[in-house]
């Protein structure tokens, strides 16, 4: 069990995270927030690249810094910017990281072939990575994070650069792995975690806003999400009065999905809230999402 107790991280006068309390057991945890909300800072603390200014991070009751290599031995990490040596082949790079992770050569050889097959790179094991696409590099990154069969797998924006087919394969892989380990997946893409995460951690204003199951989080907006058809001439007025989640242009009118606590109009259809709705509602005032909401 991985536990964060009152964790605060400051960079000089700037407080990146404040009084974070979290508990991770086996399963997939989706760390969901817009860019700049502190996800990467939190993740860097979980992988010992940064240390809390205040508070403690415990794994099975022991402080992760005091566990040192014992903790890193059970850790798999894919950073947001996964670096690689351009002239290395994926096989050689994984062999190098396997050595740093303390795997013996025979064990590593077998594991590397297995993982390259899992991430669909078995055809290019001996090609230099400088010729790889962004998606292929990301798949090497995913493979390296799983080299030591980690008990804690932490992935920062793992689906960046992956096409829809690769994303689906990746989600399947995580579901398969999640039964006996902690998987923490940081993302700002709701669909990456909506279907696979056991719990969602949403962050806002440097602290935790929600830490619950998808359905419980969705229920916070139950009865407030509607869809309606609005004639084009009324769209502007409608936009001014309600918080719009999405709009779809049809032949004669605009179909609008929106949030309101007003008494339901008979033309409105109440719909089941999704995580995307909550995400857009919660981060409505976030500048990075401004383009999506309005």
């Amino acid at each position: 069990m991985l536990v964060l107790n009152d964790v605060t991280k400051k960079f000089g006068n700037f407080t990146a995270l404040e009084n974070i309390n979290l508990e991770f057991n086996h399963g997939v945890y989706g760390l969901l927030a817009p860019n700049g909300a502190g996800k990467t800072t939190l993740i860097k603390m979980l992988v010992t690249l940064l240390f809390p200014t205040k508070g403690e991070i415990l794994y099975n009751g022991a402080e992760i810094t005091s566990l040192d290599e014992e903790y890193r031995d059970i850790l798999g990490y894919l950073p947001q910017e996964f670096g690689y040596y351009k002239n290395y082949t994926p096989e050689k790079y994984l062999m190098y990281l396997a050595a740093l992770k303390g795997l013996n050569k025979k064990e590593a050889d077998k594991r590397i072939q297995e993982l390259l097959r899992t991430v669909g790179l078995e055809e290019v094991t001996r090609k230099k990575m400088k010729k790889f696409s962004g998606g292929m590099i990301q798949r090497v990154g995913i493979a390296q994070a799983m080299l030591n069969d980690p008990k804690i797998l932490i992935l920062d924006e793992p689906t960046a650069g992956l096409d829809p087919k690769e994303r689906a394969r990746f989600r399947k892989l995580l579901t398969h792995l999640s039964h006996d380990r902690i998987i923490i997946l940081s993302t700002h893409i709701v669909s990456d975690v909506e279907s696979i995460a056991n719990e969602i951690v949403m962050m806002k204003n440097n602290t935790i806003l929600y830490n619950d199951t998808v359905s419980n989080i969705n229920n916070t907006l139950a009865g407030s999400i509607f869809e309606t058809e609005v004639p084009f001439s009324d769209v502007e007025r409608f936009r001014d009065n309600y918080q719009i989640i999405s709009e779809r242009q049809d032949q004669e009118h605009m179909t609008i999905r929106f949030i309101t606590n007003d008494q339901a109009d008979e033309k409105w259809t109440s719909v089941t809230p999704t995580l995307e709705d909550v995400f857009l509602y919660v981060y409505e005032d976030d500048q990075t999402l401004a383009g999506r909401v309005s």
Binding site: T48, R72, F82, G83, L97, L100, G102, N148
Partner: protein, 252 residues
């Protein structure tokens, strides 16, 4: 069932302490010593990956030797070679080979995007660096020894004295450098240290040659020997600290 309190065999204080230490000894993983830890790490990681920048190191070393030789040869054009004290050159330049090998690796590595992944592996870059710094200090000592041996053919040098001087300067510098590395985070602090080392020695030897040479040469053999040994011991002690303390301070 009725228990009689007097039947319970209470332990005396020394038995209690003995039992506690038995529990602690059996309950905790045995911590490997510094040397066996390094040996294990080398066995696990191997030469190929431990020194994966071997060609780069060799190239840096050759370049540095060429620069040093060029510096000596060109300085001979401007100075009376009779006044150039080789011991001064040995004392000043000995740590530079070490620095080139040990620190450039760290500097390059930190700039690479692979840094984060490498720092979160079981054997991270600090642990590799501790091993490499130890290896580089020995290699530097050997290279300096060979350099002095070569000089010995052309100049009237006392090999043992020059070698002790070189080794004590190398480990003294390595020790100070490691201390700075452990206690400061900025790159500037390391550059300042190197600049101070080079400039203070060069200026002292240039402006007060006699005094500088006297200080350097009047220190007896055994003092240099003791200085080298003490520096080596403290250097290794600091390398151990690098393995243990660095983790407490944050890596990036």
């Amino acid at each position: 069932m009725k228990h009689n309190a007097r039947d319970i065999p209470f332990l005396n204080e020394s038995s209690k302490q003995r039992e506690i230490s038995t529990i602690i000894t059996n309950g905790l993983d045995p911590k490997a010593s510094f040397w066996s830890y390094l040996a294990n790490m080398y066995k696990q990681v191997g030469f190929r990956f431990m020194f994966k920048d071997f060609a780069e190191i060799l190239f840096t070393l050759l370049i540095s030797i060429v620069i040093v030789l060029a510096f000596i040869l060109s300085s001979m054009d401007y100075m009376d070679t009779q006044n150039v004290n080789l011991y001064t050159i040995i004392f000043i330049w000995s740590p530079v080979t070490y620095l080139l090998m040990a620190y450039l690796f760290f500097l390059n590595q930190k700039k690479k995007t692979t840094y984060e992944v490498e720092m979160t592996c079981k054997y991270n870059l600090h642990q590799l660096a501790a091993f490499r710094m130890l290896a580089f200090s020995v290699v530097s000592m050997i290279i300096n020894g060979l350099f002095i041996y070569a000089l010995n053919f052309q100049h009237d040098l006392n090999f043992l004295y020059a070698f002790l001087l070189s080794s004590s300067s190398l480990f003294l510098f390595a020790l100070i450098f490691l201390y700075v590395q452990l206690h400061t985070k900025t790159r500037a602090s390391k550059i300042i240290l190197l600049t101070i080392w080079l400039s203070s020695n060069l200026l002292a030897s240039y402006y007060n040659t006699n005094l500088y040479m006297n200080v350097l040469q009047q220190i007896p053999f055994y003092v240099y020997g003791v200085m080298a040994i003490v520096s080596i011991i403290l250097y290794v002690k600091n390398l151990k600290e690098m393995l243990l303390v660095k983790k407490m301070k944050g890596l990036i």
